[in-house]
Amino acid sequence: MNSKLTRRRFIKGVIFSGAAATTGAGVYLANAQNGAGTAERLINLNINGRTRPVDVMPSETLAYTLRYKLDLTGTKIGCNRGECGACTVLIDGVANYACSVLTHNVKDKAVVSIEGIKSADGTLHAVQQAFIDENSPQCGFCTPGQVMSAVALLSSNPRPTREEVRAGLSGNLCRCGAYEHYINGVLRASGQIA
């Protein structure tokens, strides 16, 4: 295989050609003229504080749009069924599985993915730094989702108990089993472990 043809490029190529082929599928666009009708495909998305126009298929999930159309590949797709949490993002500040939300559902909302939580000057979010300090991730695949769930938890509950952290991160699987390290990380980020 051509060394420049990385797996990611190959996938992106296939998907874009597929998307281009369906652009002309008349039913969806035609119905867009109908008063109570179907959604417009070209929508503006507010992702990480930036508004970007994106051509979104009707049944496209947010995880797909983030990864394959906006190149925000920090959001991982683990199970793609809402059963693992790797794709967790914040929608209007609330933790949701990006694999189980239609992109068309978030067009009037503010989405924050893992790429959007560090400061403008590049300083990591307190949760990210605490996860590093606590050696929380092992393989790291679930980490973006764990970070987003922790950020959502701390924004509503800045000093959670260990049990509250456990509950707050309970929608995120870690197949390395590093749960205790993530919980320690959240407690550190909330200033309860120095």
Partner: protein, 329 residues
């Protein structure tokens, strides 16, 4: 079976008014698929186990959200999320049975978007059916779960009729216990149906778990004040504390006077397609105290009529114990 990353392309309607949604649902009929939070829907579509020509996304209809006090109780919009139900002061205050049930559905992220209407309308859990096999419920003429080789540990104990799948909702037993009613609209108008009549078993309709038909939209759930501030008991037993569906759950409400049970509702979930109200147990414990003797006396009665499958026999003592704990607690 191939694994699909994306859902097939289909039309998407996003009405913002109930009237528009009703018109679209009526026009599309069987071609349309109503979506609230979508947490049951997307799996079916990604797996290609079911399909629809068009999604009718109800999530932008603000009038279907929220919890209101009414003259006689409360009314919960069908699109109210399970997180909102679980954390509402109004519900926690007087109808905590429902809040407790909603608080243990699936995972936090799913509760953040999954709706009460969707939770009660979700399809049954049976991996053969959800795999897209042509079983009775899918319009075929075979049940794959109730065979000598069938894996049926999670399946039903009661009311099996060709299909042996169990209902998956945690909020459904709580709503039946609270004597809730469901408000359903279609283009012909509105009808209000008792929660106990909303759910249907395979003997009456093998392809649907509720009375909802194409063109219908469940718009709200009404809970009368009948059981407000009663003594409640909720317990869910599942293999995992998060994500997992109930193996058995129990939702119970008691009114006592001088320590004696005046009236009660005991409803068990995940033992048949519909929530199972134990009317005979309720009658048997009336006038008694909520103690171990009362509970022990109705132990056998609580599971009378159970027909176990090859692997779900454990659900009989599990259900008996949950009913006992509900009565004692």
């Amino acid at each position: 079976m191939p694994s699909h990353d994306v859902m097939p392309n289909m039309e998407l309607y996003q009405p913002v008014q109930v009237e528009d949604a009703l018109a679209i649902a009526d026009r599309l009929a069987e071609r349309g698929w109503l979506v609230g939070g979508g947490q049951d829907t997307y799996g079916w579509l990604k797996d290609r186990a079911k399909s629809a020509d068009a999604l009718i996304d109800l999530s932008a209809i603000e009038s279907l959200r929220g919890i209101r006090e009414t003259a006689d109780g409360i009314e919960i919009g069908a699109l109210t999320t399970l997180t909102e139900v679980a954390t509402s002061d109004l519900i926690r205050g007087s109808y905590s049975l429902l809040a407790d049930a909603a608080s243990v559905v699936a995972s936090p992220q799913i509760r953040n978007i999954g709706t009460l209407g969707g939770n009660v309308s979700q399809d049954v859990r049976c991996w053969y059916y959800r795999r897209g096999l042509s079983c009775y419920r899918a319009g075929g003429n075979l049940c794959y779960a109730d065979t000598p080789q069938g894996m049926n540990r999670e399946h039903a104990l009661f009311d099996q009729s060709r299909c042996v799948a169990a209902g998956a909702s945690d909020t459904a037993p709580a709503l039946v216990a609270l004597d809730a009613s469901m408000v359903i609209q279609n283009l012909d108008g509105e009808r209000v149906i008792a929660a106990s009549d909303f759910f249907v078993g395979p003997a009456n309709d093998i392809e649907n778990t509720t009375v909802l038909r194409p063109g219908d939209i469940l718009t709200s759930v009404r809970i009368p004040s009948t059981w407000a501030n009663a003594e409640f008991y909720w317990e869910k037993v599942a293999d995992r504390n998060v994500w997992d569906f109930s193996l058995v759950n129990v939702a119970a409400a008691f009114k006592t006077t001088d320590g004696q049970i005046e009236d009660s509702r005991i409803v068990v979930g995940a033992v048949q397609t519909t929530p199972r109200r134990l009317t005979e147990v309720e009658n048997a414990i009336r006038g008694n105290s909520r103690n171990a003797d009362t509970a022990e006396a109705v132990k056998e009665l609580s599971t009378t009529g159970a027909r176990t499958l090859a692997h779900n026999g454990f659900k009989v003592p599990l259900m008996q114990n949950l009913v006992k704990r509900a009565i004692i607690a």
